[in-house]
């Protein structure tokens, strides 16, 4: 099976602060993988290094076998990376539909009518259709997070990077989200999902990695990882609920 993602020896520093050190792992195409770890572990930064939003200080990133280390995030999106932001970044003066249209037009590279259909489809999957004509700046927080998902889907990703999209949901909403992500996985999209809501995560992913202080401390099937001494130690140290 070919690899959708290959992360090799990634390091990232902000000035003197070392956020990631020697992070290495691969994700086979079509796999759904979860990332856990305490706050400040570097999970979001890792996602940004993969999407190209942040430049790594060292190491290489391969997407579908191609070295993209020096490729910008806009081109990585066009190559099939879709991502959400933990702190939503909506286009506040555009409507929800237009937010998705932006991704469908440029990320998925679709022409007018096809782009509109793609945007509608993304809104439907992310359950955002009711807000289609609402300016994104007027959305409540949970809807903003859903818009992140809708926009990422509109770019027609083959690799979907999700950053804490389940927080704050009711049980029913969470179940519905799990179902949605599972369907995306079953449709062949590779998924990398950072999530504190572990039950939601383990319902979808077949593999878990744990990041602590910028290094991978565990990698394997979810049960084993959650019970490994290193991970338990991190948990008892606080951070994950």
């Amino acid at each position: 099976m070919s690899n959708a993602l290959e992360i090799k020896g990634i390091a990232k520093s902000y000035a003197s602060l070392r956020v990631l050190e020697e992070v290495t792992f691969t994700v086979p195409a079509g796999q759904a993988i979860g990332i856990v770890g305490p706050n400040g572990a570097g999970k979001s930064t890792l996602l940004s290094v993969i999407s190209g939003t942040e430049k790594a200080s060292a190491g290489t990133v391969l997407i579908n076998g191609r070295d993209v280390t020096s490729v910008g995030s806009e081109d990585r999106t066009r190559m099939g990376i879709g991502r959400t932001f933990q702190i939503p970044r909506p286009f506040t003066n555009l409507t929800v539909f237009e937010n998705a249209l932006s991704g469908a037009t440029f990320g998925a590279g679709l022409k007018r009518k096809a782009a509109e259909d793609k945007a509608l489809e993304a809104l439907e999957i992310a359950e955002m259709m009711q807000y289609a004509n609402t300016p994104a700046g007027q959305l409540p927080l949970l809807a903003r997070k859903r818009l992140e998902l809708a926009r990422a889907l509109a770019t027609n990703p083959s690799i979907l990077l999700l950053d804490e999209i389940a927080g704050g949901l009711t049980e029913a909403e969470c179940d519905s989200l799990v179902q949605t992500i599972s369907q995306l996985r079953d449709s062949g999209i590779t998924i990398v999902w950072i999530e504190h809501v572990v039950q939601a995560l383990t319902a979808v992913v077949s593999r878990l990695v744990c990041l602590a202080s910028g290094t991978l401390i565990a990698d394997g099937d979810p049960k084993t990882v959650m019970q490994s001494p290193e991970v338990l130690e991190v948990y008892l140290g606080g951070g994950i609920k």
Binding site: S51, G52, T53, G72, S73, E74, D75, T77, R78, R83, F85, R89, P90, F91, T92, N93, L94, T95, F97, E98, N99, L101, S102, G103, T105, F106, G107, A108, G109, R112, K113, A115, E116, D117, L120, E121, E124, I125, M129, Q130, Y131, A132, N133, T134, P135, Q138, R151, A152, A154, T155, Q183, L184, S187
Partner: protein, 342 residues
Amino acid sequence: MTSQLSADYKVDHFQKKATVVGLVGAAVFLFAAVAPYIFATDVTSAWIKLFYLISLATTWNLLAGYAGMVSVGQQAYIGLGAYGIFVFNDMGLDPYSSVLVASVAVGIIAFPISYVAFRLRGGYFAIGTWVIAEATRQIVIRFDSLGSGRGRSITTYTEDAIYRNLFTYWVALAIMGLAIVATFYLLRSRLGVALQSIRDNEVAAKSMGIKVSQTKRIVFVVAAMGAAAAGGIICLQGLGVASPNTIFGVNYSAFMIFMVLIGGIGTIEGPIIGAIIYFLMDYYFSQMGLWYMVVLGVLAILIMLFLPRGVWGEISHRFNFKVFPVGHQVQPLFPGIKLKKK
């Protein structure tokens, strides 16, 4: 995960309304084109000023209001556009065509400048554009052929003042029409979605696959061409450039910001309204000298305090109304489906 959504929803682009606006706009334009035959010359020559103010406000709004590039250095291109008249006029071109040719030439000059300006962000971008404008003035006044700092007049100009005014009027009108139509068209195209995405969040725009620098560069060059064309009109109307310090003056940026903020930034109508307000103030109160500037300042402060969206922005927001339809409206095709209002 495919569905039959396009059978359930329709995306409205307000195409019909856009066509109506286009036709009404064309009628207004035609009326304005024959107006000099109806009204007195001093009235129509005042309109020349209104036309270039609208062009300036419209292009600055495109730059700052739609692409998030708050420049205070558009006077670089106003000045270059004005001086460009001499360059092309000296080559044998008539002064009116020189306005258009100079505008294109300034667009070509703005292209490499954008690489310098785009290294700066936010406030630094603003100051950087101002510095670039100053540097441009410094370079231009080195040239003897351009009057070396003393200004210059157009040498081969239409003798008859009435025809001179008439031709200038038509060129100014054409450029204003072009600026508005180009902005309207741009905002209705996919570029409009890209620009507004960039303005609202550059990082997210990149993750939508938008080529941010490339898109901003297009607007930067178009706005420079608009400013240059306005500069050309100012030169035509003044029979030349009286002083490089004025034509390259930061005052122009101040007036552009004034017009756009007063009228309503980030709307097509706002800069037009703002330019009309500024034009009327200028027409009736500019003899007041220093007090005129005070009145302008007070008006700007009052509007910012009480109508932060600007005059048109407030009207448009309150009545949910636009003259120039841009954007998209999703409409369910079945009565069972309901979308949230607004």
